[in-house]
Subunit: 402 residues, 4 copies
């Protein structure tokens, strides 16, 4: 660790799945990277006193509170890390920015375009005062994804022709799986679309450097009524057998759409929680005039790269093990071939966030970038509602940060 004495005191709101992942990252980031500031896990916030106390102890936070406004009002907090469901992002973020706190907000940025626009505007105001904000699309920091971005930026793929992206899970195939908050529109905004579809929208735009200009979409809710949950945690939950009262599923189970990117590429996207056998199958393939890349989150240490400038007889998809010290983020970890996991993407995210804040530059993706993803989600939802008619993606009114 560098001898820096600068400390960034982090207050985190939320302690479930994302809270645990972020905690692991905050705990680790300064242990593996030399950074100009050191994160201090100062305060964790949750509504249930017993649970948040336990979370503070287990996850390693100095203190806890049950009121996020208390967290924001404290002078000894520099960074607010928002890990709550999407319906509270806007309120917390706006207050935090107003209080001069740097904000790291989990994706999707908000549940509605209106909220996202307000947050972006607030971030722009705050930026002028040196307050930084970032949306947590962690998969950008998977080394293989970062490397894809570099290959495209270096022109190694030539003109991008095709993007095909799927994010497939299967955790609600069973109709008896209960109606957790992620299946409720008022809490989650949307279903597979916003939860996992947002990831592939951001990731493919990040990698290609192009933005989706329009879409034609179909969404579906295969199981429309589910038992109310007895208890839930992360993506796991239980219901009280067949006797449980039921409720309406108010979000999509799956969303599929075709799209055009503003650089001329055609694209297909699919987000589903009904893809039996697929657990966390974020897969992206990009074809360009000079080469192609393939990425699979379940094998996140690997990148397939096809270089069409090689001799014909030797062309093939190369399985690159993205574990060399020369690969993005990897110099901090283990020797080549010793793989990293899902959680490392968050450590890389915190690394870049800390560095940006400490060196007084804007981290990416910005709130504006995340707003643009929200605008794509909105176009998808509109198209689906209007019988798959073509829907243009509205402009963010601010330029992309990438």
């Amino acid at each position: 660790m560098s001898t820096t004495d600068r400390e960034l005191r982090v207050g985190m709101v939320g302690y479930a799945f994302m809270g645990a992942a972020h905690s692991q990252a905050w705990r680790t980031v300064n242990r593996v990277y030399d950074l100009p500031a050191r994160a201090r896990m100062a305060l964790i916030c949750g509504r249930d006193t017993a649970k948040v106390a336990d979370a503070a102890d287990r996850l390693g936070w100095d203190a806890y509170t049950t009121d996020w406004r208390d967290l924001i009002n404290r002078d000894d907090i520099d960074v607010v890390d928002i890990c709550t469901p999407g319906d509270s992002h806007a309120e917390i973020a706006l207050a935090a920015l107003a209080a001069g706190k740097h904000v790291l907000c989990e994706k999707p940025l908000a549940n509605t375009v209106e909220e996202a626009r307000a947050m972006t505007a607030a971030a722009d105001v705050a930026r002028a005062a040196g307050v930084r904000s970032m949306c947590g699309f962690n998969y950008r920091r998977v080394p293989a994804v970062t490397m894809m971005r570099q290959l495209v930026a270096d022109g190694r793929l030539g003109v991008i022709r095709h993007v095909r992206a799927t994010y497939l899970q299967d955790w609600i195939v069973d109709p008896q799986f209960p109606l957790v908050w992620r299946l409720q529109k008022d809490r989650a905004g949307s279903g597979a679309l916003g939860d996992i579809g947002a990831h592939i929208i951001d990731l493919t735009q990040f990698v290609t450097g192009q933005r989706i200009s329009g879409v034609s979409a179909v969404t579906e809710t295969f199981v429309k009524e589910r038992p109310l949950p007895a208890e839930s945690s992360g993506l796991a939950a239980t219901a009280d057998g067949g006797t449980a009262p039921t409720g309406q599923v108010t979000v999509d189970d799956a969303a599929v759409f075709v799209a055009r990117l503003d650089g001329g590429a055609l694209a297909t996207y699919e987000a589903s929680r009904f893809a039996t056998g697929r657990k966390n199958a974020l897969r992206v393939e990009i074809n360009g005039s000079l080469g192609s890349v393939v990425f699979d989150l379940e094998r996140l240490n690997e990148l397939e790269f096809y270089d069409a400038t090689r001799p014909t007889t030797e062309q093939g998809f190369s399985r690159i093990l993205v574990t060399e010290g020369e690969h993005p983020y990897m110099s901090a970890w283990w020797p080549p071939g010793h793989i990293i996991g899902y959680e490392h993407s968050f450590t890389h995210e915190m690394r870049d966030f800390i560095e940006a804040v400490a060196t007084d530059v804007d981290p990416t993706p910005s709130f504006s970038d995340a707003l643009q993803v929200q605008l794509v989600l909105d176009a998808v939802a509109r198209s689906a509602e209007l019988g798959s008619s073509w829907a243009e993606v509205a402009p963010t009114l601010t330029p992309a940060s990438v």
Copy 2:
């Protein structure tokens, strides 16, 4: 070989890529299967005398002719096998059926819905007279594909939720690749859509037992002008360098669409000749409530099957090597693990065609089945023309044969 003396005298029109593949199949089918009739490679037809004479000698046909009407008029021909580009299918097939010949017609059945309807009507009339007809969607007879169909039919996948199908090639990525007939609308009808998109439409409908009811599509011609060809063969061709005169590409380079199947599944389809690094990548994944299957034509001896009724800790995609004697069509070939190739799908097709004709039943897929594929292609083209608006697939007016 059985001791049958019954001979089916085949006359084949066309001798290029499909002609060579069919010849290999006709030559082989009675060598490996015991069938109630024996195919005789009686006559091959092509317009260029020297070339068709050479083809007859090389491919093993007894005689040749340069006039397909001559072939159809001969009394000693029982079967007409149509391997020409799509613009001549209708005329030849209608004449052949009228002459009482059994007809095997390569896919796509025709270049237009109108032609396909006329052919289907003629096939229905001919059927009453015991004349058989079949469209050559050979991939149905890849053993792994047939097995997928059986798994679905046996209920092993439960309710089908998702279909995702791609057929990706890259043989025209180079803008200097010449303007072969497959890139001309008047000859080929359409581009990637009809050539390879037709395969995945048929295959997924065959496997799921469901039909596409509507689509929303985007198509694109990335390279709109190409040099005129100096010479071409199969999918290979050469142009006369930079000095060659050029012409307009009048078909799609790529087509992507989302669809609904009439059994409730959502689907994505993509056909492209611009997917760098993908040579013949017909890939299909189908997710059902009880299981999933994955198929890749470049590894056509394998089928991945996920059985969600297995114990949770043991669930996984099983790579089944579809080379056991108990697998469809495989008892005729080699011991387990000794793989077969692309051409074997045609041998299986001829096997089923011969058996159907010899036992006086209708082979599948029927012309009506192929018409239905044409209707899907038509809906895709309509949607694409109308800015990706939703397009319903028109009815065939006859039931599916599968």
Copy 3:
């Protein structure tokens, strides 16, 4: 087909698994390759009149005989193709060579070193009279294997450090599988060692251009007694349930050995018929100072190539689909990505044999090359018998032809 009138009249002895595979190749070879001579499937020989008559009809041979001496004595036979079990190779081959027939003999060349030496000596004598001989290690002609050889020969792998080769099957795991001829030492010579171990010995020596100089081996017969067979065909067979009389298994079920190659590489070899789940898993990996290659016969259209001279961040095993027209043997087949199967290796073998005979050069592998494989098998058997002590491979006394 070229306009050549030269015909090579082939007489084949044997009509089981290898007989069927060779027939398919003889039937096909002149249909896909332009060659200076045309193979005529003139005569097939087998001991059982009814069976050989049926085989002639099914497999497409002009005539049949039940006496191989008759086949050899006929003036109108140019080539003798030996597809019988190993115990009759020497007698037939010696007679055929003495009669001035070109000989293609299936592997392993013989059941003993003595026989193989005699055959090699006879081949040397015959060669002086323009009579050609070849041993049928067909896997050398799998395009990916030929390409591996070229990569090594071109120095692309640098100094070879490691060879690891396995040939795994599982067809006799069931102790009730009957005692077919391949499990009897007097017929088969040895078990997994000679049947499939011979293939990986030949293949790795061919690819590396190095020869095994010594070995240390362990062999095992896991199931020592089996029911006598009621009927068998190829690798399939049935026994009469639990009441069948039994006999001793007199060959190895599995053989494993470490080896040194004369160019300095270390190697491991394993041949087994007890590798549950492995059907025809011939897998070879070769590591050199500049690169590595991996081959798997169950995916025989693919070659993995690691080029360590590429930039560090882009190094990876490239999955090359060996289906381009520029790849060995592939210009005759289908467009890129359209895969070939097991049987094609025999067609390639016949292609090279016909070309060599017609152009009056020696085909490879020669009998001497095959003798050398026999000498390795002998060293393995000796080492295993002597408690895994190191056994040097005896010299062939003639140079390698490769």
Copy 4:
């Protein structure tokens, strides 16, 4: 975290590669698992004051010392964690056990059988006094490996017939890579054999529940002289170009051997640092009469399982994503499909160590188990020295703990 107040105060000796990995595990284990005791990272020891001070700060240890005897003598240390090169294991472990400290010692247990025997004897004496000891073969705690062990123990593989294990790396292929301590016999004991070969010996014995009874081996040092190192860290190092003084490599670069297991299986083993393109390729396949398993450390979240009791047409290697809550160790981590990395195996190791110590039972693998691995290494070395003659593995004189 449970409300336990019990603390285990850990003192770790060494801070390089293994020290960093252990630190990450100690820091994380109580954050994700509920355990009867809480590890306190009390003291770290290294010889270089500046470096160990920096390591303490970076890795999160309360204090540091430069004298391991000081660490052992302190009353406030409960556990001694030995992460030094093998030549100091025995001295430190013997002293720690004598001082009544629980000991966790990295593998290999020692550089010689004599040292390992002494350590085992000391561990047996200490055990009587309630002092626990364990050798850190961390790969046993990769969930897929633990699951393989369970499948074998449950009889799912039937009678084990074959083990094939490789551990391949390529970090010293370049002859200019310097002579780091791992290439010096007096520090490392042996080369690839003890460093990575030890892992596959332990892992395969653990999984099968069988022990290697004898071996026949070949070892090689491909590059016998290397430049002396300027600086090294983990597996990375640099030399001073072509002008550096050189030294003799005194360990093996690669070791290959065949073996028999005491339950009747045949096995092949290979450990190499010259397998170009293989970075950390620990791969194990085990074939039994009822099924097979395959594991690859570079894809450590996956297990391939072939169940030969399934219907013939559905048998295949199932790629199980070992990320379900029901899988070993996984309930503490992320939702299904969110993969873990190399370092997690150490967290699992610390979890089991803490639990064992806190509940007063012996952790595994014991020093005796590790001694037995040492005896296998010794047999391999003896066989290699004696021209690959068969070498029996000497008995440990104590029973296996597994």
